[in-house]
């Protein structure tokens, strides 16, 4: 099942992850990720037939609370760390969306 990773795979993953990698990074990650995945392939030899996956160590628990109105951050504070925002209008500002 383990496959060797290609430069095309790295480009596809970088696009999924929203990372604009340069050529040197692509070459480095192709080599390094292939090495890590080859090492990780050892777990594929382990028999896990019928073994349930662990996504979380705590037993399933639902917590409930009363639906009360509580204070939240002021608009200036919420927008205060944004690279570009208009506090008066309550907006995060971004570059144009459609090309």
């Amino acid at each position: 099942m383990a496959s060797s990773l290609t430069a095309a795979d790295v480009e596809r993953i970088a696009a999924l992850a929203h990372l604009e990698l340069d050529e040197a990074e692509k070459a480095l990650y192709t080599k390094q990720l292939a090495g890590i995945l080859a090492y990780a392939a050892e777990i594929q030899q382990i028999d896990t037939t019928g073994v349930p996956p662990t996504s979380h160590v705590l037993p399933q628990q639902s917590t409930e609370r009363d639906d009360e109105v509580r204070p939240s951050l002021a608009r200036e504070e919420s927008l205060g760390n944004a690279p570009d925002a208009s506090v008066d209008d309550g907006l995060f500002k971004v570059p144009r969306v459609i090309g």
């Binding site: 382990i46 705590l58 919420s78 570009d84």
Partner: protein, 494 residues
């Protein structure tokens, strides 16, 4: 040489009136000014906020002696890892992405520490977004190990460990996703505790791998670490994964009596790849525990050897999802526009320029193992083996009350030694990641030095939510050894 004051001693000096909080706080700031240029343990020193808080505590003491008695950390300076949000104090995760980020709120652990009387003195350097085992992934340069400045303090909470090792502060907070408290504690010769998963609120901790990580304490002594855990533990409506179990009295349970406790030793795990000086120190430590009445029991954890690949598949998958939020819109860095940049290009450039190499490597790996066609072979398989590792520990805890092993297979390695080979760096976490995969509590306690005088840590892993037993064993060990009071050469104790 007189050992530096513990948190307990500073608190007593403040409560009794022997020292003011202002005096304690200024002494800590002066030590940071004197020693930190060579160590680089701090990203930000919050002198103004700390002194204001100290003045508040001094006024409170003048008003209410009895109120003061209820504060277990009254007047004690604390260093906080820079992945834990502090209102009004820059919190960077040692990333260019958050270099100018000033949180508008405090993490729950910070609120609770301050409620216990502690003084937040600054934010400590770490691997970027807590990803690393050497501190070399900090965008601001590595922390240096106080015992040998050419060596790593460990990671990712290396700044917190170094700050306590050099007695800049008696206690510190870190976060532990795969060993990030325990491994630097071992490499710097201090106590570091990863609480059971769900014990401490993660609200306000910058998320890396949500199913694995916990905030926890560093201290020079086990008792100090226990006091901090008591202060920060407990259910929190802001983190639905905190459990409503009562927090037992931990510090009061440090009786020194471990007679009859069964301590499991996974011999097979220790045979491979453990440096001779580390193995000797750990073996000697086990003999000390036996002499105190602990019973050593050989155990087998057959699937634990697969913990590293399982960990790096699970942790990177969670990281790729958690770090999707850094997109240059709501907070943090945004890449400068070039010409008529559209939104999508801005996202991709921001993330390429804002994240360092190890963070990008992990986002890439995590995205890959979650992607169509690979999910079953890597991510799902890793989660199934995670179940098998849990079952190994469950079986072991039918025979024993705690499991003992080295915290790290080696003492502090040289800066640069493993930087070019990420896989070698990952193997440094072989003994620590299982406690994160299983959610079990684990503590690292100093257990001596290698022949080249580098600290070694003994790790004790406990049953679910049984921090009390591992702390009791660690404290009993500490009583028979004087490691906690030793100071690195060139760092005064006063």
């Amino acid at each position: 040489m007189t050992p530096p004051p513990t948190a307990g001693a500073l608190r007593d000096a403040f409560v009794s009136g022997a020292r003011s909080a202002d005096d304690i706080c200024r002494a800590a700031l002066a030590r940071i000014e004197r020693h930190d240029p060579a160590l680089h343990a701090f990203n930000t020193v919050a002198a103004d906020r700390a002194l204001a808080r100290a003045a508040e505590l001094d006024r409170f003491r003048a008003r209410s002696r009895t109120g003061l008695e209820a504060l277990p950390l009254a007047g004690v300076p604390v260093a906080v890892k820079d992945t834990i949000c502090t209102r009004g104090i820059r919190t960077t995760a040692s990333s260019r992405m958050l270099e100018q980020f000033v949180p508008p709120y405090d993490a729950t652990a910070i609120i609770r520490l301050e409620r216990a009387g502690a003084i937040v003195i600054g934010k400590t350097n770490c691997d970027e977004f807590a990803m690393g085992s050497s501190n070399e992934n900090s965008a601001f340069g590595p922390v240096r190990n106080p015992w040998d400045r050419e060596r790593t303090p460990g990671g990712s909470s290396g700044g917190s460990a170094a700050a306590v090792a050099a007695a800049l502060t008696p206690i510190a907070l870190g976060s532990d996703t795969g060993g990030s408290i325990r491994q630097p504690a071992a490499l710097c010769g201090v106590v570091g505790l990863k609480p059971a998963y769900g014990r401490v609120s993660r609200y306000g901790l910058m998320a890396f791998a949500s199913s694995l990580e916990q905030i926890g304490p560093f201290g020079r002594t086990v008792a100090d670490a226990a006091h901090v855990l008591e202060a920060i533990a407990g259910v929190d409506p802001c983190d639905a994964t905190t459990v409503s179990l009562p927090v037992p009295p931990l510090a009061a349970g440090l009786t020194g009596d471990i007679r009859g406790l069964r301590i499991g030793v996974p011999r097979a795990l220790l045979d491979e790849g453990v440096e001779a000086g580390v193995r000797r120190a750990v073996t000697d430590a086990l003999a000390v525990l036996e002499a105190r009445g602990g019973r050593l029991v050989d155990i087998d954890l057959p699937r634990a050897k697969h913990a590293i690949p399982v960990y790096y598949l699970v942790a990177t998958a969670e990281a790729s999802s958690n770090l999707a939020r850094y997109d240059g819109v709501r907070y943090g860095f945004r890449a400068a526009p070039e010409g008529d940049t559209d939104l999508h290009t801005m996202y991709c450039r921001t993330r390429d320029q804002g994240f360092g190499p190890e963070v990008k490597r992990r986002i890439m790996l995590g995205t890959y193992v979650l992607s169509a066609g690979y999910y079953e072979a890597y991510y799902l398989k890793a989660q199934q083996v995670r179940t098998l590792i849990r079952q190994d520990y469950e079986a072991a805890f039918e025979q024993v009350d705690a499991v003992a092993m080295p915290t790290s297979p080696t003492a502090a390695f040289r800066l640069g030694e493993k930087l070019a080979d990420p896989l070698q760096m990952y193997l440094a976490d072989v003994f620590t990641v299982s406690a994160n995969l299983t959610g079990l509590p684990a503590v690292s306690v100093p257990c001596g030095f290698t022949p080249s005088r580098l600290p070694v840590g003994l790790q004790l892993v406990g049953r679910g939510f049984d921090e009390a037993t591992i702390l009791r064993i660690a404290d009993a060990y500490e009583r028979d050894t004087g490691w906690w009071g030793q100071m690195p050469e060139g760092v005064d104790a006063a």
